[in-house]
Each structure stands twice: as C-alpha cells, then as structure tokens.
Symmetry: C2
Subunit: 460 residues, 2 copies
Amino acid sequence: MQTLGNRQSLAAILKTRRQKLAEQVSCPVILWSGRSSARNFPANVYPFRASSHFLYFAGLPLENAVIRLEAGQLLLFMDDASPDSALWHGESPNRGAIAAEIGADEALPLSELRHWLAGTGTIAVQDPKNYFYQASLLERMLAPATRPQNLDLEVTKAIITLRLSHDQAALAEIRQAAQVSIQAHRAGMAATRNAQIEAAVRAEIEAVFTANQMTCAYGSIVTVHGEVLHNDRYHHALRSGDLLLVDAGAETATGWAADITRTWPVSGQFSPTQRAIYDVVLAAHDACIAAIRPGVEYREIHLLGARMIAAGLIDLGILKGQPDDLVEQDAHALFFPHGIGHLLGLDVHDMEDLGDQAGYAEGRTRSDRFGLGYLRLDRPLQTGMVVTIEPGFYQVPAILNDPERRARYQDVVSWERLTQFSDVRGIRIEDDVLVTTTGSEVLTADLPTTATAIEEIICA
Amino acid sequence: MQTLGNRQSLAAILKTRRQKLAEQVSCPVILWSGRSSARNFPANVYPFRASSHFLYFAGLPLENAVIRLEAGQLLLFMDDASPDSALWHGESPNRGAIAAEIGADEALPLSELRHWLAGTGTIAVQDPKNYFYQASLLERMLAPATRPQNLDLEVTKAIITLRLSHDQAALAEIRQAAQVSIQAHRAGMAATRNAQIEAAVRAEIEAVFTANQMTCAYGSIVTVHGEVLHNDRYHHALRSGDLLLVDAGAETATGWAADITRTWPVSGQFSPTQRAIYDVVLAAHDACIAAIRPGVEYREIHLLGARMIAAGLIDLGILKGQPDDLVEQDAHALFFPHGIGHLLGLDVHDMEDLGDQAGYAEGRTRSDRFGLGYLRLDRPLQTGMVVTIEPGFYQVPAILNDPERRARYQDVVSWERLTQFSDVRGIRIEDDVLVTTTGSEVLTADLPTTATAIEEIICA
C-alpha cells in the first residue's frame, strides 16, 4: 500500500498530470466540478460527486469550482463561503488555502472566469443544469460529452490518453478502494448465515465503506437472483441452497473506484451443481487474467473468456460442440451475455461519460453480435491500465425462454441437462487487474476466489 | 404499529386521497414522478427518488411515470419496460399490473399524455431536465414550485391542505420510519465506545436503515462538532470527553421520513457541565412538546423553547436578565440560532420544495429577527400534523466571536462563566410529534431522552 503516490504531495501529483496534458493539447483546458442536485427539495441534495475529469486535475471534490489548465499552469476559480455559510457549515478553507493545497498558480473568484474562456476546450458536465450554465458562460456551441467537437474533441482525446494509464498516485487510491472493498465483501460473507434478507448483507457491506469514509462507487448488487444482471432491489429472503451474488465496490473521497464481484452459497456450502458451474466461471476468470499483458487486445481476452465458458459447459454436458465454433455462433452468450469487463479508474466504468470514446480505440465501434455488442472495452491493453475481469454464468429467462434463440441453438444446447443446474441462477467472479510492463497484477487478489476458500470464510 | 393504514389496501388509501383532492380543486391535476439523475456517467445514477407529490397520490416510487387526477379518477401514464430491459433488469410488473395495485382507472403509455394536459394544473418538479420536459409537454408557462401561478397555484394550495394533516396510512409509514430510526440511534449509541471516528458510528446507524430496506431521509449528521449545524463530514476522532451529536432519520421505500437527533457522551458519561446544559435543552424540549395541541401557534412553541433555553442559561449563570426580555432581544439565538422544528412527512422538511407556502400560513412571511428568521413553520397546529421539536445549544464561533454581537449582548452574557462550558460545543434533542385531537403523541418516544437513560444505553 505504500507507493510513491502516498508520499507525493497532492500539488506535485497534479503538476505532473498538468504537464502531461500540456504535451497533448494546443489549447487551454477548462473543467467544471459541477454542483449538487436536489433530491426532493433544494436543501436536501444527493451527496455531491465532482466531475471525474475535474477530480483528475484538481484532486479535491470542490463544489462549484472551475480549473483552467494551460502549459502546466493551474488557475482555480471558486468563491469563498459566505459568512452565513460559516454559521451553518462551519469554517471552510478559503480559496487561497485550497489553491495552496492543490498547487494552483492563481486563485480567483468565479466572477473572473468569463475573462479566461476564450479559445479554451472543455468536456461537457453530466448534470443538465450545470451544462446550461457551462454553455452559457462559454458563449459557444457545446456538444454533449459523448460527441465533442473541435477544441473540445482535442481536449477529450488528450484527457483520455492520460487517464487510460494510471500514475502511481491514482493506483494508490484504487488500491485503497480495493482494500476497503475486500474488507466489505468479507463482512458480507461473514454476515450471510445470520441474515434473513439480501438487505441485511448489503447493510454490512456498505457499513464498511461508510466506516472507512468511502462511498459506493455504484449501486451495490446483492441478490439471490444473479440472473437479473442489474439488480437494485434487496428484498428477497436468503434461503439455504441459494447463491448470493454480490457486486459492490468502494469509492475513495477523491473519487477513485474499486469493483468486485463474488458469488457465495447462503448455507456456506456450494451444491455439487453450483460448484461445477462456479469452477467453470473461475477457470475463465483465471485464464483471462493470465492472458493480460501490454499489447494484448482486450477483445481477445473477452473471446478467451467466452471460449473458456463454452468449454466448461461442454464438459458439463450443457453445450455441445467445439468452443471456437460455439463462440463464433454466440452460443456462449446464452449464459454469458455481457462483456468480460471494462476500464476502471475515477469512474467504475472509467470515462463512460464520454460514451465509447475511451473504451473503444479510434475507428472501432460496437459489434452487432449478441456475444460482443455489450463489450465496453475494445483496445490493446497498455501498461498502467486497470481493467476488470468478470466472467459469469446466468440463466436469464428473457434469453433462455426466447423461442427464436431456442430454435437457433437447439442443436448446441442440452436443455434437459441444463435443468439439472436449476439451482444456479447467476454466478459472477470479478477482480480488478492492473496491466504491468511484464503482465498484470490483481489489485483485489487479497479476496479469495476459490469455492473452498469462500466456503471457509462464510463458515468461519 | 398496527394501524388502519397497514390494513387498508394501497388502492383504497389513494382513492380517499384523490377524493379529498377533488373537493379542493376545480381542475384536473397532473403530477410527474421524475427520472433519475446521472452521478458521474449516465448509467451510474443516484438512487431514484420520486417527487413527493407524486408519491402521495401514486403510492409507489415509479420512475418516469405521470398521474392525472380528476374528480376522484386516476389515470396512470407510463411505458412498459423494453424487452432489453428484461434482460438487464429482470421482468418488471407491466403498466396494467401497477395500475391495478394503485387502483388506477386507466393506464396508458406516455405517448398518450399529450392528449390529457389541457386545463390541468401541476407542481413543477425539482430536477431541471425533467422540469424542461414537463414544461415542454404542457406547452405553457410553468413557474418553479416555489412560485406557482394560476391553476398551478390552486393545485399547490389544495395539495398543501391535504398533506398538512396526515391520514392513518401516512402515519403508519412515518411510524415505521421512526421505529427504524430509533433502532439505528440505539445501534449508534452501542457502537460509540468502540468507535475511533465519527464515520464508524455513522456506518452502524445507516446499516440499520439499509438492513430495513430504508434510505437516509437526509444526509446524516454524526459529529463531535455539533456547533457546525449542517455537518456533512465524518472524519473527526472520537475522544473521551466529546459529545457526539447525531441527527439521522430513515425514509421508507415509499418516501415517508423520520427525523431524530440525540446527543451523547463518547465516554458514556456526561461531564457535569455537559449534563447541566443537556438538561436545559431537554427541559425546553419537554416543555415544547407538552404545549403542543391543535390551535396553538407553532411560532409560540418556538418562543417557548427560546424562553426555556434562556431561563436555563440564566440559572447556569451564562445569561443575565429575564427570559422574556432576553428572547425579545434575540439573546437566546446566540446559543439557539435555528427554529424549534418543521413539518415532517414525505419530505423531512415537508413540502419545502414549495418554499414557505406549506410552512407559513397565507399572508405570513419570514421574520427579519435573528431569533425567528430561521423558523421553518409558522402556522396554527392542527390535528394530524407531524412536526419536529428540536431545541439546541451551540457555541458557534461565527456567532459568539462576532464583535458586533459581543458588543450588543455584552450586558446579558457572562462570557467568563461561559468559558467553563467549553466542553459543550453542540447539543440538540429532536423528536417527531403528532398533533392529536387532545394534544400530542411523540412518535419517537421509544428512544429515551434523559441523560441517565442515554448513559445506560451507551454503557450497556
């Protein structure tokens, strides 16, 4: 955990990032942090989340602040808190103190911003209210972040280049998020046998995030219905014989995310059928991680995962044929319909506010194939990238009961054999992997993946 | 906990509310639920919170839905989930099933909505994106919810009238939120002696909300710096000798809130000075609750609380003079600068999206006085209202170190005596109180308030 990033000052980290940015762009860059959004009334807001691009270069989740980056220089625009704010919110550091902490060359009130906008490029923020504010200040066309134009496009490409490969300071943050997420999953496993419903396990997991002053990087999935891929309800009873799928990751105070999935038996013991499928998914997981190194196409990792799933299901008598053939016809996607993973960084799907601009190499677009179209990352891997590897097996009724698919795949699926695995609704195993010069490092390796090790934690 | 509300069907509850609304308005009423907001990228949203006005008449937190209420009839507009959604989010109940559950007379897709808007009144939603969508569909001026015009004003007044006095179904929900909040505060108290920082206590409190499938009705305050009134950081170490101020309340799945504050000693034992001030605040709390009954002006309750604080501080030698005189000069507000409480319901500050329209009786506006201007409620109490009672004592540097105030109050404050209470930075005691025909019922009474009882829970 002790890395260069922990010892470097925030100002030094940010200065290096600015200098790298200056090598990539010809124009000044201006980035807004955004403002908080009302939940049910103006004073009751959602927890503020600063724009990730702002966080990357400003280092602190400052609300309603703007930075201007030019030739390695940093200007900070923000207003000091009002005297009334001191009454309600306490004394906060003033603009000058924050500027010193982040190494800004100058700090100005927001009213000065309008003098510093000419010729700048930016990235449009997510929130519509702030987007209109941003556009009105710039006094020019501002396309959404997914379709930047002109200078904004140049800035977007430059920031993608930087953020694709993490520096040591970023990795130190991701490692912290990973360690807290591991602790949270362990707490969830330990709580499962005494829990009555999914929500009770979720509570234990998120309490670890909160106690460590972190937040959820995304809505946690804690479900005995793993076949519902984006499950956001927590009301089901936990029954002996169920598998509990948990996809939950912490986010540090400055925005860096982890993303971990484990699937464990409520009883503490996998059934033979559950264990058989679990080991198929784990073999795919391990093979994909072993294949990670700079220069490898992530799409090939995905296809490797798909072949491993297919091969495992052939061994179990669920699929029939050859792995390569089955993957070519997308038969694997009957049971593994999503991508093998995605970029991880300041966003859990890193830079997904930019659409596919970060995830897909220039000139590449999403495939129409069912077994490839959900892939979020299609680039050669490079040193310093962090990606998730998250193969899975699911029995999704909307897929498996679809008459068209049943007809198309009637010769390659043994539907009768499949019925013997009805206690496996969904399994996913997900780790966060750093691409290193020599191969990879699993940042979440301290959380076991084998069925036996997981059973031991639950029964401890 | 078993009330009529628990036994009535949702459809029956909503029908009664619609019929009451029909008695108050001449026009059809149309209400939007809203849509979720992006956090850092479009697929990573904040947990969806439906508009409270929608929840009041629709009963379920449906995303991107609209209801039309006319003469007791209910029309539901929403789109069924797409087939793709079934893959990712599982099968969801279709429009027809939801319509049956809430007793809608008809259910239509959103595309039909435009035929049903003529002559309707509405309340503008909070989120700007949805506000623009709402306004564009209505094809007319739509002022913000704080300043409604014409039919929207009529609708706003009618809904305020209904929501000011809670029906049994609403009270059943608020009671559930209160019980879970009580359990959460107890968990926080029990965890304090082993906790190192504020965040660890917050984690235990919010875990109880989560385990009970509830959310935070507002950002929890868990702080050893109670003098910062709206504290939203949790990083301070807990030290023996500190008081921990916890203001945290749960919200049920359908949006009803509780709001409880307790202040307890980290060590499990109040110091004599802490206990002395605590008892002053508690006496104010108890006196205010005892004064609650229909017809009493809430402003008088506030002034009673202020006098009780003043009287208690006179007894301790901190203030000098007569309570009435001190309150008239706002001297109480040096230590108790906020209002005695607010409306509670679907919003923790109920209907505060409407500005002061719900909190202030028609024709009344906020006072300019420092000791009254922060009062959120200025109406005669009526049966079925739920209000908070939350007196406090704080040593806010921004107030007490203000040279102007020190000069103005130099004769009524014993600054020297005050220094002996330096271990009391902030104390607040808050309960949720239902106005009944004969007086009041404290909905949060199961959580003790006395210093001795709190010490016992912490040391148990």
